[in-house]
Symmetry: C2
Subunit: 357 residues, 2 copies
């Protein structure tokens, strides 16, 4: 599909800090459990992985939020743990418990066995990208994504979510050599994975460093950012005649904003603890900024949703230069009332147009 | 007891940025489940509240870590939820589930009924302070503490721990007036509570804003810091002829360091995501800094524990002026090997003495 067929490129242009008529918006986890139609498709698919591994189902849920809302980008429906699953760790989503690996990576032997997976095992993801692109028919751009090497290492070592990251941090402090080897494998795998998504048609890519913020200052740079940088450095940055922008999002990473902005990415995702005006000053408009409304603001009712949307847009400030992509500061909650999203999208488009007048 | 009877005042002097021969150390939750003797006492007490509400048991566990380690301060064994419990919310620590309130504060009526509790309902805490002071016999100073108004409001509205703070943030966005009323009551209650601890003999006090870091920039200042400031402003700052230093700790608050440091406190607690050298520059030595080793570093083995301790001390830098109190950046984990704490205390004392030579 030629790039000229893209009907709405406001998101891509904003990421490249080109002038746009309004601030584009999409939402992390926009295809998800707050939408009844998503739950219906998931029930048909039987399980989360049944959904993610079937390109037709994945395409169906990817497109659902776009049918409801005037969002400016689609994001591939998938999960950051597809990569370690392809490494043979045995991913399972137990009902109500979140993801879990049957074979976590904890011993020297586990680490030695780890290898970059054959990308053919992830073909279902690339197939989904192709199906989605075809069905989008140029309506909005499609974002591909992956977890950061550190964030997927957390899950690989812990075997599941954690509130203290004790096992992966024990490895970090006691056997940093083992953790560096995992991160190196993850970086290579993530790089191949994202490039294959780009080859299949992803028009922007995002790295989710969801757990970068749990590391100590100094160690974040060594164990997370250094590997994110390796991935970014190897990415194909052009496809179909257009630049493929790269967004890096480190939850809780506001204190390292300058360093993250210098990792080679085009845009930095921010959570709501960061003031966008300060973030913009600190990054000197070298990157676009994506964010950063608290997802919980969507529970405050119509007036609060609109007021918070304006607060975020106003904080970013004059939009003549530098790009802003409106988003939440984290994934949308499964309990969100769908109508609140309609109010949000409407207000972001309306208010950001008025800021440009 | 006259102040002159205090045998080790290194902690208090460091908080006031006076020269000290070495960097003092204590650990958040130092009296806790990682110590077999604590678990033994808790088993005798029957429950967490049985332990906290019995001044003799509370004193016993407060002193346990001091018998093992050369710590420079004791901290009252208690819980930040004693205050809402005294308000009638019905605190219960279900086995393995963490704290839970039988009567959370969610409706307009719930909020209207809320009042500053009679401090007599918290007499067990002040009695514990008196017993501990007597048994400490001037060995080290005793720290009193409370939760910040915002942090206890989180528990009061949610009714238990939360990973998204949905209920309290829904109130914040939809009915900020209700939340402000809760925070006002909490601030007055916390102020009376801490002053009564100081009257009973607490020689320093600490406010734990454990959940301040989950608020959006701008809202942290309105809903957390403003009420912390009210508490700090009303505290008795002198007792037994000595200044009673106030420490404010906002987990995840590194980005607001300058503002927190200006709240009237003597010292700011920091988690491990903050570089101490940068924190010291940003606060211009106007406050002492407390922290900030990752509690998980205690799982790295002897060499890693000692290396991390030196890294934190070296980051703080020259100790001629400005006070540093070594601590973890969060409570010690229940899984911590007790020997690691011995290594840590020894290294902090040894290395910080060598930095002064």
């Amino acid at each position: 599909m030629p790039a000229s067929a893209l009907k709405n490129d406001v998101f891509l242009r904003s990421l490249l800090r080109e002038p746009v008529p309004y601030t584009p918006i999409w939402l992390m986890r926009q295809a998800g459990r707050y939408l009844p139609e998503y739950n219906e498709t998931r029930a048909r698919a039987g399980s989360f992985m049944g959904l993610a591994q079937n390109p037709d189902y994945a395409a169906e849920v990817t497109l659902q939020p776009l049918a409801r809302y005037a969002l400016d980008a689609a994001i591939l429906f998938s999960d950051i743990l597809t990569v370690p699953h392809a490494m043979g760790l045995g991913l399972d989503f137990a009902a109500g418990e979140g993801p879990r690996f049957a074979r976590p990576v904890r011993t020297e032997d586990d680490v030695a066995r780890l290898a970059v997976p054959d990308m053919d095992k992830l073909r279902y993801v690339f197939d989904a990208v192709r199906v989605i692109r075809r069905e989008l028919d140029g309506k909005v751009p499609l974002i591909g994504f992956a977890g950061s090497p550190w964030t997927i290492a957390c899950y690989m070592v812990e075997g599941q979510g954690s509130d203290d990251y004790r096992l992966v941090k024990t490895m970090l402090y006691a056997r940093p050599d083992l953790l560096h080897r995992i991160l190196e494998v993850n970086a290579q795998a993530t790089l191949q994975y994202l490039n294959a998504q780009i080859d299949a048609g992803a028009q922007a890519v995002m790295l989710f460093d969801s757990w970068g913020g749990v590391l100590a200052d100094g160690l974040f740079q060594q164990f997370s950012l250094a590997y994110t940088r390796k991935v970014v450095a190897g990415l194909r940055r052009e496809n179909e005649g257009r630049r493929v922008p790269v967004i890096v999002f480190t939850k809780g990473g506001g204190q390292w904003l300058e360093e993250i902005a210098a990792c080679g990415c085009d845009a930095v995702g921010l959570d709501w603890t960061v003031d966008l005006a300060a973030a913009r000053r600190r990054t000197g408009d070298r990157v676009a900024l994506q964010g950063n409304m608290d997802p919980m603001a969507l529970f405050g009712g119509s007036q609060a949703v609109r007021a918070e949307a304006r607060r975020v847009l106003d904080a970013y400030g004059p939009v003549g230069e530098g790009g802003h992509v409106f988003n939440l500061g984290h994934g949308i909650s499964r309990f969100t009332p769908p109508d609140a999203v309609a109010e949000l999208v409407e207000e972001v488009h309306h208010h950001s147009r008025s800021l440009r007048r």
